[in-house]
């Protein structure tokens, strides 16, 4: 099974406490209000918990956009 934007969206909305958030594969942190470095950490924790994965230091460092997160999840 491949994860899609729709799997990530609820986590973003929950962590950033904003139901108006929309995401695409090319979305970057600067596009989303509230996606700062602190919330980025909460996002990583929440995604790891939801998908029962553990990202490595290299993986997280190479994320440039939401699409990078997704492709990591789908590896």
């Amino acid at each position: 099974m491949r994860y899609t934007i729709d799997d990530l969206l609820p986590i973003f909305r929950d962590v950033l406490e904003d139901d108006g958030i929309t995401l695409s594969e090319t979305t970057v942190a600067a596009d989303v209000p509230g996606w700062d470095s602190m919330n980025h950490i909460y996002l990583v924790v929440a995604i790891e918990k939801r998908f029962k994965v553990k990202f490595t230091t290299y993986q997280i460092q190479n994320w440039k956009c939401v699409g990078d997160m997704l492709s990591e999840l789908n590896k």
């Binding site: 602190m38 950490i41 909460y42 990583v44 553990k54 230091t57 997280i60 460092q61």
Partner: protein, 554 residues
Amino acid sequence: MRIAILGNYATQFLRRSLVRRARSWGQPVECHEAEYDTVDMELLDEGSATYAFAPDVIVWHESTLALRTRFYNTPPAEREAFAEAYADRVGRLAERVAERVPSARILFPNLSLAFDDNVFGHYGLKIPSSWSFQVAKAGHLLHALAARQRNLFLLNARPPEGAVEVTDWTQVVNADLHFTPAYLDWLAGCLETVIVTLGGRFRKCVVLDLDNTLWGGVIGDDGMEGIQVGALGIGKAFTQFQKWLRELGRRGIILAVCSKNNEETAREPFLRHPEMVLRLDDIAVFVANWESKADNIARIRETLNIGFDAMVFLDDNPAEREIVRRHLPDVLVPELPEDPAGYLPFLIAANLFETASHSANDGERTRQYQEEFRRQELSRSVTDMDEFLRSLDMQASVTPFREEDVERIAQLTQRSNQFNLRTVRYTAADIRRLAADPGCETFSVQLSDRFGNYGLISAVIVRCRPDGGAAAIDTWIMSCRVLKRTVEALLMNEVVERLRARGIGGLAGEYLPTPKNALVAQLLPGLGMAADGENRYVLRLDRHIPLKTHIRKT
């Protein structure tokens, strides 16, 4: 409540957790977070933002990981002195805080997270210049420091085994985040417990079921030989549990029993079972009958004169727990694990009995409540209140605050919610300052009667004005154990006498209402003071007629 947060790592997550938890504290909370890694500057500089914020509480959290980096940057020749230098620094900074904001408490999670580096392996504990040696030593030195530095309070920062992941090494590298958000939330929970306790809300009494809670089996069915405590069956679990409860009792937590049993049957193990740890002497109130536990707990509460929110009820039976929860929602009813071997670790991890102070006579509370029972019996046998008070043969001494009473007085200001005219909370350091302040008149009362000694049960602080104008009552508190004993009248006479000797002509007082202190709404008019606006009263001291009291002064 104003909370400043300082640390040598990114503390935003700690702040966020603390702010979120503070929503349930029922008081406005303001949080100030110092810039990243500026502890020394903030605490040394008198003009710092932290001091300008005027904090009530300073949360000062140092990451052991950051400390280890500092250790690695220390020249090898200086490493043996690393722990001492560290403890000195903490002590010096705490002393600066004491000078700058005397009333602030520093909450300092200790260095229990050792992040051992195994550079020497276990052998490192024999090498004074190793990190393993120095970090352990620093932890011990901090303990010794906190024991003498009055404004420094350490927290045990190590979570119970397996409860929460402390560090995520990926996040350390990626985000310089030394602790996981989950750990910092756990730590915020510890801070919350301490801060709420400082505000005067904490537990004073534990109510115990008997069958399958204090011992294994049912005394009514299994009899003295059949119940499991000590060597029999799983009795060891109950023995350990009882020993811990006895320690709580010695510390000053009131132990009460509430059991569905015939009273005589229920008392028997306490009197005659050779392996019982708890004895009748350890139990302040013993209720065993077949009535509803909610009703019985209400009766226990009445005898002890404490709030339901100061009580914890322990019962192995989920149905009984549910009934008590439903009828007495303020009583804390922990969901005990099914296996009695788990009772003790569960309760230890829950940390239900946090305290903000301790004085040596706390452990005598049980005896005092037992004496109170005998007084209540006497009061039933006499019909006239005056006759009852006379028959008690009460004696009291009234003195200015003395050094040996400081802790107890501070504790009274923190614990008393009902008989508390203005609910001003003071630390021991505050009390010392007030005692030494020539502009304050302080009064503390020690009371005894034919049944025993109540100890120090009331305190009054009056602030005088330099111009000789009317003095003002800052604090009037009394332990509810001595309600209606005419202590207030005795004190009022004393206050008036001492103020007149100073040449003061008037006394002003006000009642500050809280949800819990309606008891003293009429205290001041009852003592002869005249109304002067809403909840405000005045007295011309030359008009004071000594009030009637049944207490002899010694």
